[in-house]
Symmetry: C2
Subunit: 286 residues, 2 copies
């Protein structure tokens, strides 16, 4: 059996009791470590689970999945995913491959950032589609997120923005020379995201949002140290010290927001007066 | 401390290790039992947790929350919620009340239907806003969901429809006579939902969807017995035998769907030929 086990969002104790049981008993245990990360190291997980774990990087999952699935019709393989197993497209692929090989599959769900973001106090049914923000390069500044945000904003919905992480990436030079040397991991911050969003608005000028649009920055959602900062996009361009270490996410507010959402998130406001004023003028009007 | 503990979607072992630790140690444990249900009885939970649980019905949570929060600045109170604690608006209210009373609050996230629905193979970032469907009465047929679905469909997004549950409801007669007699619990099925959706399209005639629109019915998501049935809304009007016991949910597909979603969900199709044909004509074009 192939088990896809969600690990949740924080540390080694965010696995479910059912998931822990699967991991303890499985013949082989993999940890998918490129679409998200836990806030604890592999060694902590191995010690807590009482077993060794094989780190599955993007190349292994996408190009060498047959090694993960090897003999899984006869033995139990646990494929652990930070958050919920269905958070990333790539795992749907793995299950499709397992189906082809007639390997039975079971999934153990867990908290995902897609639902965990409710901890901002914003109501999950007021969210439109989720978008991703990648690190811009000089010659690569993909802005398709802007069109998606526009669709959400046009009907007044919030947008969850998931921020890029770079794990086990090679520099262009090392790649060109075939050197298997990897850059240190990088995690996009709320400030970087807010800055890139404002740059794209500057370029596209469709007024989808602006420096005064309200947003909430979120750090380490679901963990004991989780932290939220609410303010304008301009204010959030300078919020990294307040938010602390990764992982970060950002929510851009929609105008259909409810006063209960205002009251809840106000607690996190950088400047409560600004928050109240902008809310009164632009939000909560269905 | 007030702990809001997510219980996940299936049975007693879907709680996280962290959540179980909180429940075992808390001075008082409540179970919110009106916005969703687990698939096991209270007695199973009490035996597994090794403690007694107070069932918190809507009246208690919304009108008598001070009893739940009693002395929580000094002792630990665990308020358990099926799914994730932020799935229902009412819990945001409880936290706001705790803040007023200077009671510290901590949340233990877990799987929610909002993310668990990814098990259909539909990608979570292709979902628009979530809507709710209530049991229609002769003189009360709220159709605001239709406008929300239209907004999602206009930009090609999927819509998750959460289905009504009726727990501890009085009949009008018993309510009028002040008799505390409660009706048996009722859970809306996918067939009832599909039927009501088609009735509203008949009334509104805006062509938001129709009998041939593709959808996926989901039952007991996240549990070992989870079951999916894919087909047209017309086909889903007769899917309850295939889906089995509650809880049910429904996803109406958006046209922006990806072929990976088609391939994954095809496995659940009532009629694979119909599925392929309708998909080819109407979906996956972006």
């Amino acid at each position: 059996m192939l088990y896809l086990v969600g690990l949740g969002l924080g540390d080694e104790t965010d696995i479910t009791v059912k998931g822990l049981d699967v991991v303890k008993k499985a013949d082989r245990v993999y940890l998918e470590a490129y679409t998200s990360i836990l806030l604890v190291d592999q060694a902590v997980l191995e010690s807590y689970y009482g077993r060794s774990i094989t780190i599955a990087d993007r190349e292994m999952v996408e190009s060498n999945s047959d090694e993960i699935l090897r003999d899984a019709a006869n033995v139990d393989v646990a494929f652990c995913v930070v958050g919920d197993p269905f958070g990333a497209t790539t795992h749907t692929d793995l299950i499709l491959r397992a189906r082809e090989l007639h390997i039975p599959v079971r999934t153990i769900p867990n908290a995902s950032i897609m639902s965990g973001i409710g901890a901002t106090g914003l109501q999950l049914y007021n969210f439109g589609q989720t978008v991703s923000m990648v690190f811009f390069l000089d010659n690569w500044r993909p802005s398709s997120f802007y069109d998606r945000v526009k669709e959400n904003r046009d009907v007044g919905l919030h947008t969850l923005v998931l921020l890029d992480i770079k794990v086990k990436e090679q520099s262009l030079e090392n790649m060109a020379r075939g050197r298997l040397i990897y850059e240190p991991p990088r995690f996009m911050t709320v400030s970087q995201c807010a800055q890139q969003m404002l740059e794209v608005e500057e370029e596209r000028k469709e007024g989808v949002y602006g420096p005064d649009s309200l947003a909430i920055g979120a750090a380490r959602v679901g963990a004991k140290t989780e932290k939220f900062v609410a303010g304008t996009l301009k204010e959030l361009c300078d919020s990294d010290d307040a938010l602390g270490p990764p992982l970060h996410s950002l929510v851009l507010l929609g105008k259909r927001a409810h006063e209960l959402e205002r009251d809840y998130a106000r607690e996190f406001a950088i400047n409560k007066e600004t928050w109240d004023g902008l809310w009164k003028t632009h939000y909560g009007q269905q």
